[in-house]
Symmetry: C2
Subunit: 462 residues, 2 copies
C-alpha cells in the first residue's frame, strides 16, 4: 500500500526505531542529575547534539532541541525578533513559507509589528533581488524556507542570505523539507527543522542560532536547552532523531537520485495520461522526492478519497481539503490552479513499481471524478452565430463547479464575447484565471456583483 505523503510525516526509519528502543532503556532519566542514570542521559544528549550539529553544519552549542519543527520556528522567529527589537519591528518572509512561520508573523503583527511578504513566481521561487529590496533598515528578521513543502521548489537561499548579510539582517531558514537531503547552503543565521520529516520520531525539532546573532528567548524558560526550549528533554526521541538524520544523510545522494528519477517520471507522464492537468513547481531546482499537480474539473477531496480507496495516500492543497475552505496559500501565491490538487511526496524506499501503479490508476480515477461532476469532456465546439455575452450563476457552489460551469458555456459565446461567472467560493479567484491561462482564454478581471459573491469576467479567445 504505497504511502506518498512523506512531506507530512515519514514512517520511522529503522535506525531511528533501533536508537529509540535503546535509549528508552538508557536515556529515560533527567540529564540534569548527577547520579549515574542522569550522567548516562547527559552523554546521550550531548552525543545527539553533536551528531545533529554536524549534519546541520553548526557548532553543538548553537543547536537546541525543541518539541517540534513548528515550535522551533516559533521560538526562532520570536527570539530573533525580540533580540533585534531596537533595530526595528519588520519581519520579511516569503509568501510561501510554512504556516508555522506565517502564524509567528500573525502574532508579531498582533503585537504591533509589521510583516512583509515577498511574492514568488509561478514556480514558487522568490526572486533574490525582490527579496533584497524588501529588506530595509527597520527589518529585524527575514525568513526563507530552503524548499517549499507543497510544490518542492528550492529557494535561492545563498543569494538571499548574501542580500541579508549585505543589509545586516539575520536570516532564518526553515529547512524542514530539505535537511534530510543535505545541509542548507551557508549564510543563514538561524535554522529550524523537524525530525519526523526525515524519518525520525515525532516530538523533536531543532533550532540552530549562530553565535553572534542577537537572540532573546520569549516566554518562560528554564535551565534546559540553553534557556531556549523549556521542559524535560524528550531524550529517547532526540537520540533517535539524530541517529536517523545521520542515516538518511548517508543514503541521501543515491536515494535522492533514484527518487528524482521517479518524480521526473510522474512529472512527464501525468500530463500525457491525464488531460487538463497542470504540474506545478520548478522542474529542476526542486526537492528530489516531491511533485504537485492540479487537475481541472476535479474536486480535491473526492480525488483524495478515490486514490485512498485505490491504496494511495497523498495530500492536497485544494480548498475542499482545508478546514477553512480556502486554497493553499502556496498555490495562491504562485497563481496556479488549485482545484483537483495532488501532492505526491515519496518516502525513502519507494519503488518504481509503486510509481507505475500510481500512473496506471490515476487517469481512471480522475476521469471517474470528472464524469460524476459533469465536467466538459472536450474543448468548446465552433462558436454559434452571436449571443455576445453570458452570465453563469455559480453562487453557493464549491470548487470545482464554478470552473466546470465556465468551461461548459465558453463555447456558447463567440470569440471576443465574454462569460461572467458569479461565484462566492474562495478557490474561484485562483482557479478561473488559472483555467484561462491553461485554456488560452483571456481573464479580464473581477467585478463586484450586485447579487452577491464576485463576478469573474472571461473573454473567449479561441
Amino acid at each position: 500500500m504505497p504511502y506518498f505523503d512523506a512531506a507530512s510525516a515519514a514512517p520511522l526509519h529503522p535506525v531511528a526505531r533501533q536508537a529509540l528502543l535503546a535509549s528508552l532503556d538508557e536515556g529515560w532519566a533527567d540529564p540534569a542529575r548527577l547520579y549515574r542514570e542522569g550522567r548516562r542521559a547527559r552523554l546521550l544528549l550531548d552525543a545527539a547534539r553533536e551528531a545533529a550539529a554536524e549534519a546541520v553544519g553548526c557548532r553543538p552549542d548553537e543547536l537546541v532541541f525543541t518539541p517540534s519543527g513548528t515550535r522551533a520556528v516559533h521560538a526562532g522567529v520570536s527570539g530573533a525578533l525580540a533580540g533585534r527589537r531596537r533595530v526595528g519591528n519588520r519581519l520579511v518572509v516569503s509568501a510561501v513559507e510554512h504556516s508555522s512561520v506565517l502564524h509567528a508573523g500573525e502574532v508579531h503583527t498582533a503585537a504591533g509589528g509589521t510583516v512583509t511578504e515577498v511574492p514568488v513566481d509561478r514556480s514558487g521561487a522568490v526572486d533574490p533581488a525582490v527579496f533584497a529590496a524588501a529588506l530595509d533598515s527597520g527589518t529585524a528578521l527575514a525568513c526563507l524556507q530552503s524548499a517549499n513543502h507543497e510544490v518542492g521548489t528550492r529557494q535561492p537561499v545563498a543569494e538571499v542570505a548574501e542580500a541579508c548579510r549585505a543589509a545586516g539582517v539575520p536570516l532564518l531558514v526553515d529547512a524542514a523539507q530539505s535537511l534530510a537531503w543535505g545541509p542548507v547552503e551557508d549564510g543563514w543565521s538561524l535554522l529550524a527543522a523537524s525530525a519526523h520529516k526525515w524519518g525520525g520520531p515525532a516530538g523533536v525539532g531543532l533550532l540552530a542560532v549562530r553565535k553572534g546573532v542577537r537572540f532573546a528567548p520569549q516566554g518562560p524558560s528554564d535551565e534546559r536547552e540553553s534557556g531556549r526550549a523549556p521542559g524535560f528533554e524528550n531524550l529517547p526521541a532526540i537520540v533517535a532523531a539524530a541517529a536517523s538524520l545521520r542515516a538518511v544523510r548517508a543514503e541521501a545522494a543515491t536515494e535522492g537520485a533514484r527518487l528524482r528519477d521517479l518524480v521526473d517520471r510522474i512529472r512527464a507522464r501525468v500530463p500525457e495520461l491525464v488531460p487538463d492537468v497542470e504540474v506545478v513547481g520548478d522542474p529542476v531546482r526542486r526537492l528530489p522526492h516531491l511533485v504537485t499537480f492540479s487537475c481541472l474539473y476535479v474536486d480535491g477531496e473526492t480525488l483524495l478519497h478515490e486514490l485512498d480507496r485505490e491504496g494511495f495516500s497523498v495530500s492536497s492543497g485544494s480548498s475542499c481539503t482545508s478546514s477553512t475552505l480556502t486554497p493553499s496559500h502556496v498555490l495562491r501565491a504562485m497563481g496556479v490552479l488549485s482545484e483537483g490538487n495532488v501532492r505526491v511526496s515519496l518516502p525513502t524506499g519507494t519503488t518504481a513499481e509503486d510509481v507505475d501503479h500510481f500512473l496506471d490508476v490515476l487517469p481512471g480515477v480522475v476521469a471517474g471524478v470528472r464524469e460524476r461532476l459533469g465536467a466538459p469532456a472536450a474543448p468548446p465546439a465552433a462558436p454559434p452565430a452571436d449571443s455576445g455575452s453570458l452570465v453563469v450563476d455559480a453562487l453557493g457552489r464549491r470548487c470545482p463547479i464554478p470552473v466546470i460551469e465556465l468551461a461548459k458555456v465558453i463555447g456558447d459565446v463567440p470569440v471576443g464575447g465574454t462569460v461572467t461567472v458569479l461565484a462566492d467560493d474562495a478557490a474561484a479567484r485562483l482557479d478561473i484565471p488559472a483555467w484561462c491561462e491553461m485554456r488560452g482564454q483571456e481573464y479580464v478581471g473581477e467585478e463586484a456583483s450586485a447579487v452577491g459573491g464576485t463576478a469573474y469576467v472571461v473573454r473567449r479567445r479561441t
Copy 2:
C-alpha cells in the same frame, strides 16, 4: 541498583513501552490527514484523549496534549491570564510551586502583571484561609500544586478550590506529582500534568481547561489540539502516556499503600540512625512515595556523590547542588534546613530490601562526609567562665561550613552569650535559623556586616 528519584523521572512503565512500540507502527502519520494512515492515527489520538480525560476526570474535549508538563503549565497560566485580562492582572501562587509556575509568573511580572506568593507552614502546606485572603477582585488566576515535588506534602486543594470558586477566580492545579495516584479533588478550572512522572515517556504533558473557563491561548497556534498546543502531535508517546496512566491507576491503591509503608520506615528510621537530621514535609497528608530529610553539617553534593557510589540515585535541594548556589525555594519557603538535603522518591516496584539497604548505608555515608568536613561530633561541652560573645568569620565559605563553624564554637560562649557568624553563602540565611531550632538555641537575627556578607547572631540557650 536502586533508583530513588521517581519524582524527577520514572523509568518507562512496561505498558507504556508496549503501547509506544505498537503505535510507532500504527501512529506515525498525520492525524489531520484523510487517508487510511491518517485516520488510524486519528483513532489512536482520540482513544488516548478519552483515556487520559477519564483518568483526569474531565471531558475529552477539555483536554489537550502538550510537549511536556512544563509546557502545559506555561500554556495554562498564560492562556488563563490572557483570558481574564479585563478582570485584572494579579496571579496568586503558593510559594512552593514547581519552577514552571514560577517562571510563568516571572514572564507575567515582566509584562506588567503582579504575582502574589502565598506562604506555607513548616510542613510545606498553604493555609486555605491565607490563600483565600490573597484573592481579590483583580485576581485573574490562582495556581496551587496538588502535592509538592520536593517534600511530598499534599496541598488542601478542595478547600482552596472552594475559596477560589467563592471569589470567582479560576484555579490551575499542577498535578504533576500526584496524578499517578488518583484524580485531583474536584473544583479546579485548569489542570496540568506530565507523563514521564507516571511512567509514561518524555515528551508528553497534558492540559485540561474546564468548559466555561475564559482561555485565550498565547503565542502562535495552529489547527492542532484545539489551537492550544501547536506542532505535529507526538502520537506514539501520547498513546504510551495514556496507556501507562491507566496502568498505574489500576495499581495505585495497592502500590501506594506499599510505598507509603516504605516511606514511613524511612521517616521513622533515618532520625534514629543518623544524628542531627530533620525530616521535612507533612508526615500524613503526603504523596505515598516521597520523603525528604536534611542532615546538619553535610555538603549535599558530596552526600549525593557518595550515595551514588553506593548505588543510590537521589536528588537534593541543597544550594551546592543547584546551578545558582541557592537552596531550593521550597525548603526556603518552609524555613527548614537545606544543608545535606536528600529527596528520596520511590518508583513503582521498589522493594523493602532496597529501602533497608539504603538505611544500612546512609549512616556511614553521612558520618564519612561529616568527618571529612570536621563537623562537631557532640553537643557543646560545659560553658567556660565567660567570654560573652564570639565572632566566626565564614566569609567565602560555602554550605555547610558556616553552620559547622557555628556549632564548633557555640560551647565557647556562656549561656546567654552570642555567636555572630559572618557569611555570604545564600544557604546560611536558611540554615543558621534552622540549626538554632534543631539545637534549641536562640536565633537573634541578621545584621549588615561591615566586612561584607551578612552577620547572623545566635544566642546560646543550652
